[in-house]
């Protein structure tokens, strides 16, 4: 079948449906995922097709949801958990970082935790407090977890099935503000033929500098690359797609070509993913670097009220300003003390 156009949200639903058809050990757990189809309707129609034993509305307790998923995994199930919003994952933190992440290591593989934890993620939708968080660094920092962040419908459909099929636990970040963005998805493309989960993707090739990001920021980065082109600057844009592990093969190849790097994310800066990526680039590619790599991130503030979020989230202009800095062009801090 030829590819069909669908939204990222629909692609995720299709991915869940296909994974459940492929393997009857796949069960979904979450708040309001049954009749309602989830607050974002990602699980719409799945209760009708698979029944209440496989699409399980849970009590309103995130630690309980993840802890229950652990027990199901002990019994050989492959649970897929929906955390309703990014900011609601914290009550489940112990179960994720001390249980889900460690049980395979603790038992030397005798107990496996093939759990996928889906998290509607990040800001830019004018939401209430605790509905726009970017908590990915906590999970990247946790050994035993894999962390995926998707940026388009095709990626969402494929990566979600790969995450569910993985024998490792996967924290799966879904950019809320792209849920309604459309793209081509081939629903019949065999998973076996797909690029392995964990590989980054060069979404735009360029020669002068590398712009590395993930999630909804990929769209912003591509806009920045187009704007830069008008000024005669050729930007390469990399969508990391996987934050644990990071595909440094793809990243390093690009950095060796351009010698200049900007890493961007919505999450705040200190000890964030960009810091880790830049440290690793510096270790691997130091002699290729023409300028100091830069971060463009959310500020180190609690996620601000909705009317202020546009001053928090990296935008086109902040990305381009950082590009100017790594290219030694005039920029906002020109003349300022280092």
């Amino acid at each position: 079948m030829a590819a069909a156009e669908m939204t990222l949200g629909k692609a995720l639903g299709a991915g869940l449906r296909q994974a459940m058809r492929d393997d009857d050990r796949v069960v979904l757990l979450g708040e309001d995922i049954g009749k309602l189809g989830g607050v974002f309707r990602i699980t719409d129609g799945l209760l009708d097709e698979f029944g209440a034993k496989r699409v399980i509305d849970t009590p309103l307790a995130e630690s309980g949801i993840v802890g229950t998923a652990v027990g199901l995994a002990f019994r050989g199930y492959r649970p897929v958990v929906e955390i309703q919003f990014d900011g609601f994952v914290y009550p489940a933190f112990d179960q994720i970082v001390a249980q889900v992440a460690k049980l395979h290591y603790r038992t030397q593989g005798r107990v496996r935790m093939p759990i996928t934890i889906r998290i509607p993620w990040a800001g830019g939708i004018g939401a209430a407090e605790h509905h726009s968080e970017s908590p990915e660094a906590y999970f990247v920092h946790t050994a035993g977890l894999r962390v995926i962040a998707v940026s388009n419908p095709e990626d969402a459909y494929r990566s979600l099935r790969q995450a569910i099929a993985s024998d490792d636990p996967v924290i799966f970040f879904e950019p809320k503000r792209l849920y309604h963005h459309k793209g081509q998805v081939d629903l019949d493309a065999p998973l076996a033929d797909a690029a392995p989960m964990g590989l980054a993707r060069v979404v735009r090739t360029g020669a002068d500098a590398t712009l590395i990001t993930y999630g909804a920021m990929v769209t912003t980065a591509l806009q920045a690359a187009e704007a830069a082109e008008d000024e005669g600057i050729s930007l390469e844009v990399i969508d990391l797609r996987s934050l644990s592990p990071v595909d440094y093969g793809t990243v390093a190849a690009s950095v060796r070509k351009t010698g200049r790097v900007v890493v961007a994310h919505e999450a705040s800066r200190e000890a964030g993913v960009a810091a880790e990526v830049i440290a690793s680039i510096t270790e691997r590619c130091f002699e290729y670097l023409e300028s100091a790599p830069l971060r463009v991130t959310g500020h180190d503030v609690p996620y601000p009220p909705a009317k202020l979020e546009k001053y928090h989230l990296p935008d086109l202009d902040r990305l381009l300003d950082a590009v100017d800095r790594v290219l030694d062009r005039p920029h906002s801090l020109t003349g300022a003390d280092a």
């Binding site: 849970t58 009590p59 309980g64 652990v70 027990g71 460690k102 038992t107 093939p114």
Partner: protein, 371 residues
């Protein structure tokens, strides 16, 4: 009507407010609720329970000794809780699955642990001391109460598989304050999952008495979650077995979860790193020594004329044998090689960790040939 409040902070009275079959002096009491569940238990089976408890106490003493001698990093003694652990665990079917905390030495013993299994984790050799699938016991859990949710998830799986099994979880009085334990009770009740909650109220969460955790009998909370419960004398092995058989039968019959509060006492320290003389009076310990679960069963067997010298001698010999094997296994354990620190983090290759492993291997190799 105001709710009835039992003064549980009064530990002297605490045990009087429980269901029991054998009194502290060894006398058999009639108990219409529990008796039907143990009417098949004859003197031979009572002696087997006695043997189990004596062996468990010996294993526990050996664990403490091994820690004092530097062979273990830590040990969490269960002295005083033998009746609770043996009575409940001996009621299980092999096919049931247990999610314990870290003090359930008697439970893994009853599930068939090998001598080395008791010490492998406490020595720091492995993250899990035993093979979970072999014993059908999850690894010992150190995060307080986290395992109760795992039991509920497992029970949900049993329910969906329509299997004749029960998921059982053990936890302490301190754990009842944890959100996870309360969430586990809600989830189990909502789904009607076949889960048995066993709260070992040993009166102390390190230095905090049970009155800090609850101002109401712990078993009394369960009905508020829609879970029937029993508050049993945890130093009465027969009552513990009866309560567990009731709870398991309830869960197996498709009636959903059941809850046991076994009122017992931690005679030793919280762990070998603890000093209970700083927070509890000797008089309290002395009081509970008079309620010792092993001497209670011995008094009962003696009353029946069923505690022969040969049984006592054979039991002690068996206990010493296991302790000897445990010690030999412990001291003979070979620590895995340096790169094993990387083993088993993931089920599938992880490029970031693989690179760290390679770098550390190169670092280690750089010392090869040095004295």
């Amino acid at each position: 009507m105001s709710p009835q409040v039992t003064p549980i902070a009064d530990t002297a009275q605490d045990l009087e407010l429980t269901e029991r079959i054998i009194a502290p002096d060894g006398q058999r009491l009639a108990n219409s609720r529990l008796d039907p569940f143990v009417d098949d238990v004859d003197a031979e089976q009572l002696r087997a329970l006695h043997r189990d408890m004596v062996i468990l106490r010996r294993i526990d003493a050996e664990g403490v000794a091994l820690q004092r001698q530097g062979q273990l990093g830590l040990w969490a003694p269960c002295q005083g809780q033998e009746a609770t652990q043996i009575g409940t665990a001996r009621a299980l079917a092999t096919r049931d699955y247990v999610f314990p905390s870290y003090r359930e030495t008697g439970v893994i013993y009853a599930r068939g642990a090998k001598p080395g299994d008791y010490v492998r984790m406490w020595r720091g050799e492995e993250g899990a001391g035993h093979d979970p699938e072999a014993l059908r016991v999850a690894p010992l859990q150190i995060i307080i109460g986290a395992q109760t949710l795992h039991a509920v998830g497992y029970g949900l799986g049993i329910l969906h598989d329509e299997a004749d099994e029960v998921a059982v979880t053990y936890f302490g009085d301190g754990a009842t304050s944890q959100g996870d334990v309360n969430e586990a009770m809600i989830f189990a009740a909502s789904y009607g999952a076949p889960v048995v909650f066993v709260c070992q109220n040993n009166h102390w969460a390190i230095s905090e008495p049970v009155s800090v955790q609850s101002q109401y009998p712990i078993a009394g909370r369960a009905p508020g979650f829609g879970i029937p419960s029993v508050r049993v004398d945890g130093n009465d092995v027969l009552a513990c077995m009866a309560a567990m058989r009731w709870a398991l039968a309830h869960a197996r019959a498709g009636k959903g979860p059941a809850y046991i509060e076994a009122v017992t006492y931690r005679m030793g320290p919280h762990t070998t790193a603890d000093d209970p003389t700083r927070y509890r009076p000797q008089t309290e310990l002395d009081e509970w020594r008079r309620r010792d679960p092993i001497s209670r069963l011995e008094a009962h067997l003696r009353e029946l004329g069923e505690l022969g010298d040969d049984h006592v001698a054979a039991t002690q010999e068996a206990a010493d044998d296991i302790a000897r094997e445990m010690r030999a296994e412990c001291i003979g354990m070979v620590t895995r090689p340096p790169l094993a620190v990387f083993d088993g983090v993931y089920a599938e290759p992880h490029s970031g960790l693989d690179r760290q492993r390679d770098e550390y291997a190169a670092h280690l190799a750089s010392f090869e040939g040095e004295a």
